[in-house]
Every structure is written in C-alpha cells, then in structure tokens.
Amino acid sequence: MSEKLQQIINKQNKALVGDNQKVDEVIQLVGFIVGEEEFSIPILSIQEIIKPIGWTRVPQIPSYILGVFNLRGSVIPLIDLRARFGLPLQKHTDETRFIVMKNGDDVAGFVIDRLTEAIRMPKRDIGPAPDTISESETMIDGVGKQADRIVTILKVHKLLERNF
C-alpha cells in the first residue's frame, strides 16, 4: 500500500516538475511590424490592442509622441513607434493598431503598422541583443530565432520610460 502510494506521489511530482520546466522554457510574445522589421513584446505586458482612435496633440514634447487619447476615461499617451525608431512616417492604414502596454503603473499606447501573430518561443531560442548596442541604452531585450525568421524582442519598461 505505502509502496504504491509512494509511486503515485513520485509520479505526480515528476509530472509537476515536468510542467514547471515546460512553463519556464516557453515565453509568449505578440509579434508586430514596424517599418520593415518584426518586433515582439511579452504578451503579459499588453493591456489591450485597439483600432486607431482620435488623439489630441500635446505641445512641447518630442515628435514621436503623437499626443494623448481617451481609453475609457483614462488619458493615455500615444507614441508612434515608427517615429520612435527613426523611420519615415506613414499614414495609418486599416491594419494599423494601437498596442496599449503597461509596466506597473506606467501605461502608454503605441502605434504599430500591423500585427503578425502570437508567438510561443522556447527560451533557449532567444539570444542576447547585439553587442554593438550598449546595455543600458538599448530597447532590445533579445533576439528570437525561428525557423524562417528572427524576431526582435523589445524591453517594455524601456519603451515606457520617459526620455526627454
């Protein structure tokens, strides 16, 4: 009896450990396109993704901040990632989306060209950011390699950091 019980417990433990490893190894990302490149951010830092709505320009701020918009009663800054990354501006299309990202109490909306997909990526496939960029300055958290492409993972807290 006790032997049997022991076996079951062992089995369960094994299953648990196995689960943990699995969860640890895979992170979920949401991929999107800005300019020519695909970027991604962890799904957990996304509050919501909405279609473009009107915003109000705010004076005396860098041009990559378009202004503020109303998200169900909260006034939230809107940042154009194209402009943030120094890419030429483009008109909003049907595929343009606002990704509302949060990190703690900081919330901001980001304009992206289009969404690609939700990506499940094993941790071992993620490499560090290129060495040429200094660690403290970079917005890149790492580079994910997939069979046919590479995906740049962005640091959400860096995106939400005020730098002016």
Partner: protein, 832 residues
C-alpha cells in the same frame, strides 16, 4: 494592545481638537480675564487631557497638565488674576503640551521633552508671585515658544534639588486633592471617589484596575456633561460653577450630569459664541442621543469625488449625444422623453457633485483660529499694539484648499504686522490710534471664496517699491517707469524682494511673499492688492471653492481646443486685427484705460497655422495672482464643467499644461496652466499679424491623369453618372459618400484636387457646410467647388454662392455639359 491603540487614537484626535479651540480661547481670556465661561472651557481641556493621559500612562504629560489644571483652577475660583505674565506661562505650558501630544502621536511615548522648568514656573505663578521670574518684566522681550530652553531661563528651578522638586510636587498633589474634593462638592457629586494623582509604580494590579475604573467613570461623566453643553450651546457651560465664584456648594440642585439641568439652565451669562465644528463631542450613545455626525476617512471622500468626476464626464457626454440626436431626429416623439431623462440626470449629477463637495468642506475658521495667538505673540515680540478682527470664519471651502491656504495667510499676516503696522508713537504722530488693526475676512463671491487681509498701517509706497526693485536689480528703470501703481504693488511678490530696512526674525527674508504667490497660483487663485500710503493695505485672495472639478472656458485655435480654468478668466473681448499694436516686438492692445500685453495661444502651444484666420480674433483676458495677460484665440466655444485628469507619469511637467479632461464627444482636451502660460508668454516671440506663407504647390500637369477631381454624393447612381461623364477626360476621380468623408480625404492630402463636384443634400454634412469648411483652409481657397443638385431654387443658388461654390449644375444634366463645366474649371488642356 489593539484596544489600547484605539483608545490612544481617540485620545489624540480629541486632544488635538480641544487644543485647536484652546489658543483662541486663551487669547480671548487675556482681554476678558474674568470670563468664567472661557476659563471653564480652558480648565476642562487641561482636565480632560490629564485624565486621559494618566489612564494611558503618559506620565510626563499628566504631570504637566496636572499643574496647568491646578493653576487654571485657581484662576477659575478667583484666587488668581490672569495678567499677561501669567498668560505667558500658560501659553508656554500649552505649547509644551502640544509638543508632547505631537510626540505621542509620532512616537507613541511622551518622554524626551523636559517639562520640569515649565512646571516649576506654573507653580511659582500659581503661588501668587511673579517676582521670581526674571524673564517676566512688564514688557517681555522674548516670549519663549521653544520649550526645550525653558529650564535655562528658570534660575529658581535650577537651584532646586531633585528632592525639593519632589517635595514641591507632593505638596501640590495634596493641594490638588483638596481642591478636587472642593470642586466635587461644588458640583454636587459627592458619590464620585476622591480624585488622587496616584503613583502607579507603587500600586498593585488590583489598585490599578480600580484606578482605571475610576477614571473611566470620570470620563463618562465628562462626556455626559459635554453632551449637555452641546445640546444647549448658547447656555452656560457649567452653570453651577459659574454662578458660584467662591468654592461653596451651590444652592441650586443642578448637577452636570443630570439631564434636567438642560431644561433649566442658570442663564446668568450672555450667550457665548457658538462653538465651531466639534463633531466628536456630539452624541455619546450612552445618553440615548442620536449620532449627528460620523467620522469619515478622507480617502473615502477622495474616492467619492473621483467617482463623481467620472459621472460628470458621463453627463457631459450624454448632453452632447442628446444634442446630436435632437438635430438628427427633429420632431420625433421620443425626443421629449430623452430630453427629460437627460435633464434629470444632469440635474441630479450637479446636485450630487455639490453635495459631495460639501462633505469635503471645512470652515475656514480652522485656519483662522491660529491667528489670534500668532498676533498676540507678534505684537509682544515687535512691541506693537495690534488687534485682530476676524469675520466670516464660518465660510466653508474644500479641505485640500484649507490645508494649502494656511501658510500664505501666515506670511501675509506676519508681513502686515512687521511692515504694515507702525509702532505706537509713529501711529499717534500720524493721527491714528496707537492700536493697529488687522482685519481678516472671508466670504463667498460666486464660485470663489475671498479672503481679505486689511491692515491700517503705513500702506505701500509705489515709488519706494520701484526704487527698491531697481536697486535690487529685479526690474530695470525703464520697466519701472512703465509700471502702474498696481503693478508696482505686485513687486512685493517678486523673489528676492524685501522692503524691511532690517531683516527681522518675523519677516523680511524676501522669501515669504514669493511663496504666497506660488501657493495661491497653485490653487488657481488671484491676489489683488490695494493700498494707500498712510492709510493701510488690503490684500484680497480669490480662491476657487474646489480643485477637482472646475468650470472652464473652452477656446479653439485652428483645429485644436483648450480649456482655460474660468477662475483665471477675467473677461473676453472681440477685437479687430487693427487693434493690435506692436511695442518692442511685443503685441499689446488697449483695453479701456489699460495696456494689455497679448500672446497668441498658437505661439505658446506650437499650433500650425493651417486655416485662414479671419479679421476678428478673441482675446481672453487672464488674471492670476496680480498679473494680467491677453490670450488671443480663434474661437470661443463656451463654458463647461470639466474634470481635471493628470497626463500621467510619462507626460508630466509639460510647460503650460495643467492636465487634461475628457469632453462630451470622448475626445481629450488639454487644460491650460495659466501661471505657466504667463511665464512662457514672456519669451514667446510674436507672430501675430504675420500670415504663414503657404508654399504654393503648383503641380505640373503632364498628362490628363495628373488632374484630380473629387465627386461627393451620397447616391451611388449619381456618382456613377458623374464618373461616366468624366471618364472620357481621363482625369483621376476620387469618390466620397458625404461631406465628412470628403473633408477627411482632403485633410489626408494624398491627392491634390483640381475641382470638386458636390451634391447638396447628403447625410452627416451637407454640401453647403462642406463648402464653407473647405474654404476655411488657406490652400483650398482657390479650389473650384461645383454644386451638382436637383435643388434649383434661386435661394439655393444664392446659398451655394455664399458658401463658396463657383458653379451650380442642376440635375438632370447632360454628360457633355458636366464635362465642359469641369474642363473649364480645372483649366484642362491649357497646360498640355
């Protein structure tokens, strides 16, 4: 332990409340030393605090209050006359008591402060002598609020040995006991156990228990007594004692606790001033009274206020939607019902908002209370005779503002005492009485509260102020010459300005008034100074009643809207462009007898000039603290109630923007920070009058498809007919289904249109409106607009011309005719 904490908290709240009233009572007492009512009230504070603190084991505090009580008791029985010297000691002991209470609140214990000096002095005064007080010469130079130094100033005490002090305390204890007994008999409460000041250390547990029991009883009796006083606020507070100046049992059979006393108060005194908000003391359920007030955490009120804010936003939005619906479904039956609902919701929301605002209101007396004491101290310190008159202390305003207003008022009043009021001799020489008066008034004025500080001192001398400012390099001589008297008065608010020839500890460090201005501006308030040399100075602070929800004036510039707090708007004026003059690169205008400097809101907020601005402009005259400026805007939208929202961490601290609000249409509108805007206006270079040079984009037409025509019609068939008619030309055609869409296409600027064909009757935005909208843009001024419509009346044609249409084609038409009209208007083939 938790229970203890709870009791402690209650004790602290009660104690601080009592003390608040105390200062004022004490100063009053000095002028009316034989007012028993006051004395009793003061005595009771000391007594209550003593009772509670001994129960809570705060020995130092107990020790101090015990001696205070002792002294006050003597005064109240007529054994001691309260003069300035006695009062100094009493005030000092009260300061010490406050310090102890603060210590208890912050650290949970009352050790660390030396009370022995003060206690000894209390005793000396109590024993009838002012002689051993070397400090207490007829006009004391230093009234010592700094309690720690006390023992140094008390030579009498320092010569005492510890044993002597002990003996003294013992003696006083005995005396106290006798007095307490006498008092009890006077109060006809013989059943109450003897009140002793027990030495807890020597007590057994049982004894401690008994002592606690006793104190609780005492407290309950006090509470009951208070209840009675409260219910008959105009009646004498302790009728029995009042009518009996000497310590003999009262002939009246009344007792403090007996509710009967309430029915037949010994009305021997004039009614006292009603006591201000002391919600705590009402209703101790034991007496069966219903609770009239409850304590509420401020956080809950704040939360409530936030929710109301959301509701106000919702209401604004509802009103806007209602307007839209009304326009669209004119005359439909359900509209009336909708209208009713909307107006009820809007009414209730407004009432609710006012109700919640009221719960947050505190009487300004809370702030004013500390001034009598301050004036008293200052007048002794400065050796001037100053009287303070307070009016309107019941005027209520938001809690957050009450908290902010204290400091500025302290500065202003100190300033008035120090620089305004002259010393007695000078006053008499100037033909005034030797007692200077400072009036402190508060009253409502619309959505504002006005606090006025008036002194009858020497007044402000504009020329002297200017001279001083030039010396200190605050202004140039040129600026000084251009200054009006009022502007010169405003100089006292400049940083680094101080008029006092010598810097005293009271004021004159040149920071005070600067701080006043900043603080008042923070509250969106205004300062108005009026002064006459030799007669005195009047300062008027005008402060909005609340901060979270405000009335705002909405203004438009180009396509943007901004909200300006109405509190800062003095007036709005419509002006012609010709009314604007340029003086030294700055735009100014004449407003009645004043010259007002102007700034364009577009220059401050970097608004691109897209529209052609008309001949007229509106000037919003802004006033803040003591400065004024005219803000030029394109349009005035109206007044609206707005809820201030922060822009968040990411966008905080943007110059000129105080926050944002959400409008009825769901859009975000920025709120102008008037104080910052005034600062910015100084450095902005004027572009008023200089038209933005629109670069003329003359596209070179190489082929037919370089021509671009927009067709605006809601009917698919009509659009197809036009398309078919124009296709042979080979020009590029863009279609829009209504005015709004057409305008959006134009704004996007993907195409440069050479002509537009516009139907008149369309949903959302009709042809006339579209035409006039388009003509607002500079760059579309010359864009030919061709009306294509079945409306053939003359009036329709006239309206078409008025709104900027160049051609008017009536349906039906032949395709050739349409083609020719378009060809003519886009100058087709001319360039090819």
């Amino acid at each position: 332990m938790d229970e203890f904490e709870e009791i402690l908290q209650d004790f602290l709240i009660e104690a601080f409340e009592l003390i608040e009233q105390l200062d004022q009572d004490l100063v009053e007492l000095e002028t009316r030393p034989d007012d028993l009512d006051l004395l009793n009230r003061i005595f009771r504070v000391a007594h209550t605090i003593k009772g509670a603190s001994s129960f809570l084991n705060f020995d130092v505090l107990t020790h101090l209050t015990h001696h205070m009580e002792n002294l006050l008791n003597m005064a109240r029985h007529g054994d001691l006359v309260i003069d300035a010297n006695v009062m100094d000691v009493i005030l000092e002991s009260i300061d010490l008591m406050k310090a102890l209470l603060v210590r208890i609140r912050d650290h949970g214990e009352d050790s660390g402060l030396d009370v022995s000096g003060c206690v000894a002095r209390l005793d000396v005064v109590a024993n009838g002598g002012e002689a051993p007080e070397p400090v207490e010469v007829p006009i004391p130079v230093v009234q010592a609020p700094v309690v720690v130094q006390n023992s140094e100033e008390e030579p009498d005490y320092s010569t005492m040995s510890d044993a002597q002090v002990e003996a003294e305390i013992e003696r006083l204890l005995a005396q106290k006991q006798a007095e307490a007994a006498a008092k009890r008999s006077a109060n006809a409460e013989p059943s109450k156990p003897a009140e002793v000041e027990p030495d807890y250390a020597n007590m057994s547990d049982a004894e401690v228990e008994a002592e606690i029991e006793r104190l609780l009883l005492e407290k309950q009796a006090e509470a009951a007594a208070k209840r009675i006083q409260k219910t008959e606020s105009a009646a004498p507070q302790e009728p029995v004692v009042q009518s009996v100046p000497v310590v003999v049992p009262a002939p009246q059979p009344k007792t403090e606790v007996a509710p009967v006393a309430k029915a037949t108060p010994a009305a021997s005194t004039t009614p006292t001033t009603p006591r201000r908000s002391e919600p705590k003391e009402e209703g101790d359920s034991k007496g069966g009274g219903v609770e009239q007030t409850i304590r509420v955490d401020v956080k809950r009120l704040d939360h409530l206020m936030n929710l109301i804010g959301e509701l106000v936003l919702g209401k604004n939005r509802l009103i806007k939607i209602n307007d839209d619906v009304e326009e669209r479904y004119e005359g439909e039956a359900f509209l009336e019902e909708l209208n009713q609902v909307v107006s009820i919701v809007s009414l209730v929301t407004t009432d609710l908002q006012i109700a919640v605002m009221k719960t947050r209101m505190l009487p300004i007396g809370k702030v004013f209370n500390k001034f009598p004491r301050m004036i008293r101290d200052l007048s002794r310190e400065l050796n001037k005779k100053i009287e303070l008159e307070i009016a309107g202390e019941d005027t209520e305003l938001d809690k957050s503002i009450v908290e902010e207003i204290g400091d500025p008022l302290v500065h202003i009043i100190r300033n008035s005492c120090d620089h305004g009021i002259e010393v007695g001799d000078v006053r008499i020489a100037a033909g005034k009485t030797d007692v200077g008066t400072i009036q402190l008034k508060a009253y409502h004025e619309g959505n504002h509260i006005v606090i006025q500080i008036i002194d009858d001192g020497k007044g402000l001398d504009a020329d002297m102020l200017k001279q001083k400012s030039i010396e200190k390099g605050i202004i140039t001589e040129k600026e000084a010459d251009a200054m009006s008297e009022k502007e010169a008065f405003g100089l006292i608010f400049r940083p680094g300005f101080s008029t006092a020839a010598q810097v005293t500890s009271v004021s004159g460090r040149g920071v005070g008034m600067d701080v006043v201005k900043t603080n008042i501006e923070k509250l969106n308030g205004m300062i108005d100074i009026d002064s006459e040399v030799g007669k005195g100075t009047s300062m008027k602070l005008k402060i909005p009643l609340t901060l979270a929800i405000i009335q705002a004036l909405l203004v438009g510039v180009q396509e943007e809207y901004y909200a300006i707090p109405l509190a800062s708007v003095l007036e709005t004026v419509r002006i012609n462009k010709d009314d604007i003059y340029t003086v030294e690169n700055r735009s100014v205008m004449r407003l009645r007898d004043e010259v007002l400097s102007l700034v364009h809101i577009g220059d401050i907020f970097e608004v691109a000039r897209v529209f052609d601005t008309s001949e007229h402009a509106y000037v919003v005259v802004l006033g803040l603290a003591e400065s004024k400026i005219g803000l030029i805007v394109d349009t005035l939208i109206g007044q609206e109630e707005i809820v201030i929202k922060s822009l968040g961490e990411y966008l905080k601290g943007i110059e000129g923007i105080a926050g944002a609000t959400i409008r009825g249409d769901g859009g975000v509108t920025l709120i102008v920070d008037v104080a910052a805007l005034m600062q910015m206006a100084k450095s902005v270079k004027s572009t008023i009058g200089s038209e933005s040079g629109e670069t003329k984009k003359i596209g070179v037409k190489n082929s037919a498809s370089d021509y671009c025509v927009m067709i605006v019609d809601d009917s698919k068939t009509d659009r197809t007919i036009m398309r078919k008619a124009l296709e042979p030309l080979g020009v590029t055609l863009v279609e829009a289904t209504d005015g709004v869409e057409a305008l959006n296409i134009l704004k996007q600027g993907d195409h440069f249109f050479d002509a537009m064909l516009i139907d008149i009757e369309m949903p959302r935005m009709d042809g006339y409106t579209l035409a006039s909208e388009i003509k607002k843009y500079n760059k579309y001024k010359n864009l030919p607009l061709i009306a294509v419509t079945s409306r053939a009346g003359k009036a329709d044609r006239m309206r078409g011309v008025e709104s900027g249409m160049v051609e008017y084609i009536t349906k039906p038409y032949s395709p050739e005719y349409l083609m020719n009209v378009v060809k003519r208007n886009i100058k087709f083939n001319e360039g090819l």
